[in-house]
Symmetry: C2
Subunit: 357 residues, 2 copies
């Protein structure tokens, strides 16, 4: 199947593109999408780029009932030279297959999927916005499509890719957020699906997110599901703390999603000879570091924001202010370096960029 | 909105109905379905019964990415007198709203939803099979339908009901199953979504189910996600043990789904003056009871099987055989009583049956 050529059907009418400053994340989609089907007897077949359009699903389609689905999130960046850059897209394809494995979805050919994504982005290249900080968000996803109400892996799937132009995450420069530690709800637990990028993890996060948003916090700081003691992630980002000169991030433990940005941050820090460790870190330790005046920075990492500095953290009745609520030096350096590499204005020492040819 | 009359559009062609002995759970659907829409500004609106048909969804529809969805499962039974019985349907509507609450989905009017279900079943009444043990499975579900890639509660939903004729669960009489204790994977954890009937719980169960099925076991016995010590559920059923004359079932703890059948079993046992308790029960305790010759019965409870006796249980290297692999007396009595009430051949002391008029 992976040898099959990708057929392309162009849209006959094009949608109007929103102005760069009107772009809202995930609301506008481009003129085309990619689809690849799977049937148990055939494997993956019929790769095609077609006009962006609704899909028709039987009401008994398994994904609507049992949530057997995985997705990815990545971006294409337009450089000043007119090049289109993808940032470590092979990492997203690897993770997609790890998610597939956990969710009992047949694996995809990573190289072929990446080739399909590149072809799709090329077809919709004029949708990539050019204003500073903007990009084209790429959403590959797989849904189980068999119409069947039994709890079992589906025998049919669709792999699809859709594209959405997105505005600058920071409209007025990189800006620290306020977050709140979640003590009641749990996002994921060891033995569950936390390290897979699958629908249920996000559905289960909504209630906590809604509760803290009502209190004025931007994100939830998730603790581990077992002891509600160790820090795991912040919202849909991985999390880092700078304590007494060392950067600490929770080690991968089965319930944390391994972010591509997280991995890149770790590589950059080592490259810069900044001490860094991946280990368990309790919220108590973070709090005690703060009390001792040693909590120097905190930030999240993820494709959407790249780096999101944390200026304030609420835990029970305590309010922890970090670096006077200002963006820390390391967060800033990471943000500048990562975005610099992504937009092709900084050296790329690790060959992270895949250019569209 | 709940005052709105339900519009009915009849199918112009009818599908062929499968023979009673050819019915496979959840594969065939009737001629009609019910739909009710929700938009933030309008609330729930436009209740309608229409021909069973595919729905058209934008590829960015939230349910496909973030799994914000809930469902229910119940049955309609045809009696020898030609009556159509529903079994405690108001309990399913209550649970649907509890699931909605956890998943940040707007609540539905329970009475109205039940009325819609009854009207739909009436329209497709000739689909209810009449052979012994057969029934019409009813699947109400709600999906988030806003096309938006942000992780947030959707602003649009569809509540739908579809119907599927199902064959007898036990083709050759009630029959004990072999199950295996799951020591690695976790279905749900306190603070998560285990007590809601939502897609992610089922997606996360697939891998364990697949693993034990390959070893010849019918179901997974789930342990708690925190200590992997206490019994929670068996497959998609609640679980009961008879130890030294007393029936024990795990107490509701936030990660167990509260089954309508479980609740009915508890009421019947009390009515019969059989000692019963809801409490934590460890797998070690079950094993020790077995060693001491005091593990007298074990069974699962759920809408699909009603009562599913457990004849054998594998735990690590141990094989626990229960009641010589035969159906226990209490399991049998519960099964006969519950199905007797459902099919209108036994007295209904608790008024559990809602007849369609
Ligand atoms: C739960 C979760 N954690 C972390 C991340 C960060 O991953 P990445 O850096 O690959 O975007 C994401 C978002 O992609 C996420 O959804
Ligand atoms: C996870 C789970 N537990 C228990 C049950 C049993 O619930 P009920 O008796 O309401 O069918 C079900 C099935 O409905 C279920 O999905």
């Amino acid at each position: 199947m992976t040898q099959e050529a990708i057929s392309i059907t162009k849209a006959t009418t094009k949608k109007e593109k929103p102005a760069s400053d009107q772009l809202v994340f995930g609301r506008t989609f481009t003129d085309h999408m990619f689809i690849l089907d799977y049937e148990e007897e055939k494997g993956w077949f019929d790769p095609r780029i077609v006009p962006y359009q609704p899909i028709s699903l039987d009401p008994a389609t398994m994904v609507l009932h049992y949530g057997q689905t995985v997705f990815e999130g990545m971006k294409a960046y337009l450089t000043d030279q007119g090049d289109v850059n993808l940032f470590r897209p092979e990492k997203n394809m690897e993770r997609l297959n790890r998610s597939n494995e956990r969710m009992c979805i047949p694996s995809i050919d990573e190289e072929f999927a990446l080739e399909a994504i590149k072809q799709l982005v090329k077809v919709d290249k004029d949708w990539i916005p050019s204003a500073p900080g903007t990009s084209l968000y790429i959403r590959p996803f797989i849904i189980s499509t068999q119409p069947y109400l039994g709890v079992a892996p589906s025998k049919r799937y669709k792999f699809m890719v859709i594209l959405s132009p997105v505005g600058a995450y920071y409209k007025e420069g990189i800006n620290p957020i306020k977050i709140a530690v979640e003590n009641e709800f749990v996002r994921a637990v060891k033995g569950g699906t936390g390290e897979a990028k699958t629908a249920g993890n996000y559905a289960s996060s909504l209630k906590a997110q809604k509760t803290v948003a009502e209190k004025g916090y931007a994100q939830v700081l998730w603790l581990d599901g077992l002891e509600k003691k160790y820090v795991e992630e912040v919202g849909s980002m991985n999390v880092f703390f700078k304590i007494d000169g060392e950067i600490v991030t929770p080690e991968l433990n089965g319930s944390i999603l391994e972010g591509v940005t997280r991995n890149s941050v770790l590589q950059l820090l080592k490259y810069w000879n900044i001490p860094v460790s991946q280990r368990k870190i309790s919220i108590e330790e973070v709090y005690q570091a703060y009390k001792a005046g040693k909590l120097e920075e905190a930030f999240g990492s993820g494709t959407a924001a790249v780096i999101s500095p944390i200026g304030q953290l609420a835990w029970k009745d305590e309010t922890v202010t970090i670096n006077n609520g200002k963006t820390g030096e390391i967060a800033k350096r990471l943000y500048d370096t990562l975005t610099g590499i992504q937009y092709g204005v900084k050296e790329d020492p690790f060959n992270w960029i895949s250019k569209l040819d």
